[in-house]
């Protein structure tokens, strides 16, 4: 605990600093934009913030030193000013560093920082000629130039291996976590220093010992045999820039430290100091299964302090509803007054409980668009529908309607339903987006401007008159992208459709005119997913450039950039209260971002493969994520804990959805099955256990089979999307695969 004590305080300071920036931005912009917008000025708040994180500071100092050495004093000044780094701070760090704070310390942050600085200062001249255009990269790489005797690496590693295998069982599991990061760093060090044959021998000897869930990374590693390869490889660059995080109990850590000091095994000790971040905790060492459930991500587990920030996961109250509902009541009293009354009561009950929700964010924490009349009508429809909703449960499973795309030779890549289940959109690999009406109501375009002119605007049925009957059809094709469409998302009001594509753009389509309205450029690389906020107006996109971006439909530049993932952002989802965004990535982590300040508030590790689907529970408390390894993991957002693991699928899970009341989780996969899980039971079982909440060490029950309520095979049709209608009928969609 001692190591992270200053964590929350630092975050508090940040929190205080951020709203100021935000309010500055709004005041600047208030003249020309609508007041109800997130200010677009503080892009990436993180690096510019008042208190840069430790690693940032290290990098900054390294860069400063590099600049100084090259006599670029002006740049030094500017950088220092912008980073808010005092001269004395940097100076003292440097002098202290050269004074030689060698890695014998207590594992504290300051100590490792010092040793790091001393290394960079020693290595910088050497790295200069290698790469001038990307100083930060070479600085990072140069951390490897400090070398031991290459043939001895195997001895070091097997020495440690023997030691770890000989310690007590309870420590062995914990210390075994060291194997993989050490293995990778030692291998890279060998490669970096041009000891090709030693590197290969080292790899061959020890790669088999690594945990099977690191296979993918090992495949990439084994291709890397030359120093030149290191520069371009993004995956491994990340491995070095971000430290691999391990959670180890104090006892085990002491044991390791003593061993390494006794043996004077400086090589390994240095790597631990430089490249690993060991999060030490007091208490019982974790068991193998506990460790296995949390590990697997590209950069180890999440630091505990990262997940300490408070997340307002509660739902926003919806006060606007009651007014129109009463109106409606008056109007429709003579029709069916009584049942309506009941509904209103029920509803006010519901919203009352929401009002008391202490976990809900402030109503105006994120400025939300005002409800239009049509939105209110839709809300009323929603209320009506939800009274007819079926209560689901283990004894009462939903019916599933499967929408099969036939003749989709070009490849179906994405599907979305509107919330009221009236429209269906499909993104295809041939760059088209198609919209279907799944109700008898056909899709119609608005008439052309000339024709609209002659319409009498005062007439009652003007909304009906503006539609062009001649264009009525069951489906419409939207052309515009120049690459496969990987994500589609309907706006909640059904007026717009978003699509994201390989061509690096996100496009906004009007479902009135069936034309493209905006192309949002910014990602430059394939955009893997996009998702509209549940309140409309905002949307999020994530792509190969490893960042997720928050956009507003009326801004052509992103409002926020969520940077931090170490690999592609593969899927993005808005929290039901629109204050948070969850992203899943190829780096095998799920992150939760605060929309207000673009901070990462949760890092969830435990997946063993790229994450391809995410779903929030309707009450906003839980998150489900599915990955290529066929497992669904359940997370408690408030505590940042893994609370369940659903095993059963044999292939990538592309679709996850909670039923409207959250009792059932449906998952759809490449293995042609839809599975239904008892999410209530999964959540209940964990909530009773408060030990896990305090320590953060989960012990997952292996009860996937009990939680599995049903499994339904389709005929060679992978399940691409799942959707619960407002009455809790489950809709599934996928393209029939004739092979």
């Amino acid at each position: 605990m001692a190591a992270v004590q200053d964590g929350p305080m630092e975050l508090d300071a940040e929190k205080e600093a951020k709203p100021e920036i935000l309010s500055d931005g709004t005041s600047n912009l208030s003249g020309n934009t609508a007041s109800g917008t997130l200010s677009s000025s503080p892009l990436t708040a993180a690096p510019a913030g008042g208190a840069p994180k430790m690693e940032d500071q290290q990098t900054l100092i390294a860069v400063l030193q590099f600049l100084k050495r090259n006599k670029l004093s002006e740049s030094v000044e500017i950088l220092r000013r912008e980073a808010g780094l005092g001269e004395h701070q940097e100076g003292s760090q440097a002098t202290d560093g050269s004074g030689g704070g060698k890695g014998d310390g207590d594992g504290g942050d300051a100590n490792s920082l010092l040793s790091r600085v001393s290394i960079t200062s020693a290595a910088a001249p050497q790295s200069m000629p290698v790469k001038k255009d990307q100083p930060d990269v070479s600085v990072v790489l140069s951390a490897y130039s400090q070398q031991g005797d290459p043939p001895l690496y195997q001895v070091y590693y097997s020495g440690l291996k023997n030691f770890i295998e000989s310690v007590l069982d309870c420590h062995r599991a914990e210390l075994s976590q060291l194997f993989y990061p050490l293995f990778v760093h030692m291998y890279l060090e060998l490669v970096y220093n041009n000891h090709e044959t030693e590197a290969k021998a080292f790899f061959d000897k020890f790669s088999g010992d690594q945990e099977c869930y690191y296979q993918d990374d090992l495949h990439i590693l084994c291709g890397l045999t030359k120093k030149e390869h290191l520069k371009g490889n993004e995956v491994l660059l990340d491995f070095r820039t971000s430290r691999f995080v391990l959670h180890i109990s104090r006892d085990s850590y002491q044991l390791l430290k003593r061993h390494l000091q006794e043996r004077h095994n400086n090589q390994i000790w240095n790597i631990i100091q430089e490249h690993l971040y060991i999060d030490i905790f007091d208490g019982m060492p974790r068991s193998k299964s506990q460790i296995d459930s949390m590990s697997g991500s590209l950069a180890g587990e999440a630091k505990r302090e990262v997940n300490k920030a408070k997340v307002f996961y509660g739902l926003l109250k919806e006060p606007e509803i009651e007014v129109p509902l009463d109106d409606e009541d008056d109007e429709a009293e003579n029709e069916e007054g009584k049942p309506k009354k009941k509904k209103t009561k029920k509803d006010s009950l519901g919203s009352k409980s929401k009002k008391q929700d202490p976990n809900a964010p402030q109503q105006n924490r994120i400025p939300l668009p005002e409800l239009k009349d049509s939105d209110k009508l839709d809300k009323i429809m929603y209320m009506k529908e939800s009274t007819k909703r079926i209560r689901l449960g283990p004894e009462n499973l939903p019916s599933i309607c499967f929408y099969t795309f036939l003749n989709a030779f070009q490849g179906l890549t994405a599907v979305d339903f509107t919330d009221d289940s009236s429209l269906l959109a499909g993104g295809f690999a041939d760059s088209t987006v198609r919209v279907w009406s799944v109700t008898p109501k056909k899709l119609r375009k608005v008439k052309s401007a000339g024709e609209l002119n002659v319409i009498e605007k005062e007439s009652d049925d003007v909304l009906e008159r503006i539609m062009d009957e001649k264009t009525a059809s069951e489906s419409k094709i939207l052309h515009g992208h120049s690459g496969p469409v990987y994500g589609v998302s309907f706006s909640p009001d059904r007026n717009y459709l978003l699509s994201s594509s390989e061509d690096g753009t996100v496009r906004l389509w009007s479902l009135q005119t069936f034309t493209c309205l905006v192309g949002y450029k910014g990602h430059n690389y394939p955009v893997w997913d996009t998702h509209f906020s549940p309140f409309g107006y905002y949307f999020v996109s994530g792509g190969h450039d490893r960042v997720a971006r928050l956009w507003a439909t009326d801004h052509y530049q992103p409002l926020r950039i969520f940077a931090g993932h170490l690999a592609d952002v593969t899927c993005t989802r808005f929290h039901p209260n629109s204050n948070y965004v969850a992203t899943g990535s190829t780096d095998r982590t799920v992150r939760l971002w605060d929309v207000l300040n673009a901070n990462c508030v949760r890092i969830l590790t435990g997946h063993k493969g790229p994450i391809h689907s995410l779903a929030f529970s309707p009450n906003g408390k839980f998150l489900a994520s599915g990955s290529t390894d066929g497992r669904v993991l359940l997370w408690d957002i408030g505590h940042g804990l893994m609370i369940g693991e659903l095993k059963g699928h044999t292939d990538t899970i592309y679709a996850l959805k909670f039923s409207r009341d959250g009792e059932i989780l449906a998952s759809g996969s490449m293995d042609n099955t839809v599975r239904l899980w008892d999410s209530m039971k999964a959540f209940d079982e964990v909530e009773t256990d408060d030990f896990t909440a305090t320590t953060g060490h989960i012990h997952l029950p292996d009860n996937s089979q009990e939680l599995l309520l049903g499994m339904y095979h389709s005929k060679s049709t992978p399940v691409t999307h799942l959707h619960f209608t407002r009455r809790n009928l489950l809709l599934a969609a996928g393209a029939y695969n004739s092979q």
Partner: protein
């Protein structure tokens, strides 16, 4: 374990010879060994990198197969110009050539006559994407409709019938039963199944709907309305959910044949044989378990002495032909080294064929049954008998008029023999 993994991870690099060949193809004459090695390492690394990126596109394209398009997209990511217009009909479009002490693989580029391409008719426009909805599950139970996979896959029907003990093995039950077998199971069924495993599955209870279906289908199959019958047979031949009714159908057919042969009811026998055909056409049924009932019924329809009330008028010959075809079909699909259906059937037919006292009707059936089994059977078993049969036919034809029935029989056997003993190419 570790050994295997290491094997898999062993880094593979392109041979230096390929580098030389490729260098030659772009006009670089003599490449030094060292540069070849450096090149091949670099190229191998880049190819791996691109393949890894291409995999991402495959995953996001929601496919299991990597396509050339994925590789193009991956190249685009790296700012490399994708390969335009590359298309290969074959899996590996390389040809091998050797000579002058060298061995080469090259890409064969044939000359293409443009006028050929222009003159060929355009291929049909592929069908447009369409959307079709069906019920995957109704209140937690998967309906047995053609859009859904068969409730109990054929493999499981097979394991259930051939290895009933396998399913009870502990350990397999947990993962295996639910992952691969537990279809359309709601929670109650899942639990029920695990218990069910414990006892042998001898009894099959049909649901009310299934009983109703069974009644309707059997009535339609043997009823008088031909349109209804066609529908019923179509249902038997295509519906995926008949597994549980199969024992009933099989008994229905065998009992039906037994009764109707005695009553010489030709029409009903034909209807029953059509049912057998429909059952055999259904791809979701595992019929092996019920052959002991079906084959005797079919064979009866081939070789029975009398199948109709008026043998001189009714066309029972057609039934024999039809049943013989069925027999041949089941020999083809079900005959294995363990059940030896084909050889047993052949023996039965031959035995009665060799018997002098065999009636003409039975004789006809035997010959038809054998003939359907293929040319080899005809060649080895029927052709050697031709002279004997010919003499016998002649005796009936030319001899004193014994009975009209015999004469008709002999006549049919003769024409049958004439047809089947033609050389194969004239068939």
């Amino acid at each position: 374990m570790a050994e295997e993994r290491r094997q898999k991870l062993c880094s593979v690099i392109l041979p230096t010879e390929s580098m030389k060949a490729m260098a030659e193809s772009v006009g670089v004459g003599s490449l030094q060994e060292e540069s070849c090695l450096a090149l091949s390492e670099e190229v191998s690394y880049r190819i791996k990198e691109i393949a890894q990126d291409a995999l991402k596109f495959m995953h996001h394209g929601k496919r299991r197969k990597l396509t050339t398009g994925d590789i193009d997209h991956a190249l685009k990511l790296k700012n490399v110009e994708p390969l335009y217009g590359f298309q290969s009909q074959e899996f590996i479009p390389f040809r091998f050539a050797s000579g002058g002490g060298r061995e080469l693989h090259f890409y064969e580029e044939k000359e293409v006559d443009l006028s050929d391409i222009i003159n060929t008719p355009l291929p049909r426009v592929p069908l447009d994407v369409s959307l079709k909805a069906h019920w995957l599950s109704i209140d937690g139970v998967q309906p047995a409709i053609p859009e859904n996979p068969p409730p109990v896959p054929k493999e499981q029907q097979k394991t259930d019938s051939t290895e009933p003990l396998k399913a009870v093995k502990p350990g397999q039950e947990e993962e295996g039963s639910i992952q691969t077998k537990g279809q359309g199971a709601n929670s109650a069924e899942v639990k029920g199944k695990e218990k069910m495993r414990m006892k042998p599955r001898s009894t099959h209870e049909l649901s009310v709907e299934q009983q109703l279906y069974y009644k309707e289908i059997t009535e339609a199959c043997v009823g008088s309305c031909e349109a209804k019958r066609a529908e019923a047979l179509q249902s038997i031949a295509t519906d995926p959910g008949l597994y549980q009714m199969l024992p009933r159908f099989s008994t229905f057919i065998s009992e039906g044949v037994r009764v109707n042969v005695v009553q010489n009811n030709l029409a009903l026998l034909i209807y029953l044989m059509r049912m057998v055909k429909a059952l055999m056409d259904n791809p979701t049924l595992y019929l092996e378990k019920y052959l002991h009932e079906l084959i005797p019924a079919v064979v009866t329809c081939i070789v029975s002495k009398q199948l109709c009330l008026r043998p001189d008028v009714d066309n029972h010959w057609a039934l024999r032909d039809f049943a013989a075809r069925l027999m041949a079909q089941s020999c083809k699909t079900f005959s294995t080294t363990t059940n030896n259906i084909q050889s047993r059937i052949t023996k039965t037919f031959t035995k009665s064929l060799l018997d002098d006292k065999t009636q003409w009707t039975t004789r006809y059936g035997c010959i038809a049954g054998l003939a359907e089994l293929g040319h080899d059977v005809i060649k080895t078993l029927i052709i050697p008998r031709l002279s004997v049969e010919g003499a016998r036919i002649k005796a009936v034809m030319d001899g004193p008029v014994v009975s009209n029935i015999d004469k008709i029989g002999a006549d049919h056997v003769q024409s049958l023999l004439l047809v089947i003993c033609l050389p194969p190419e004239q068939h």
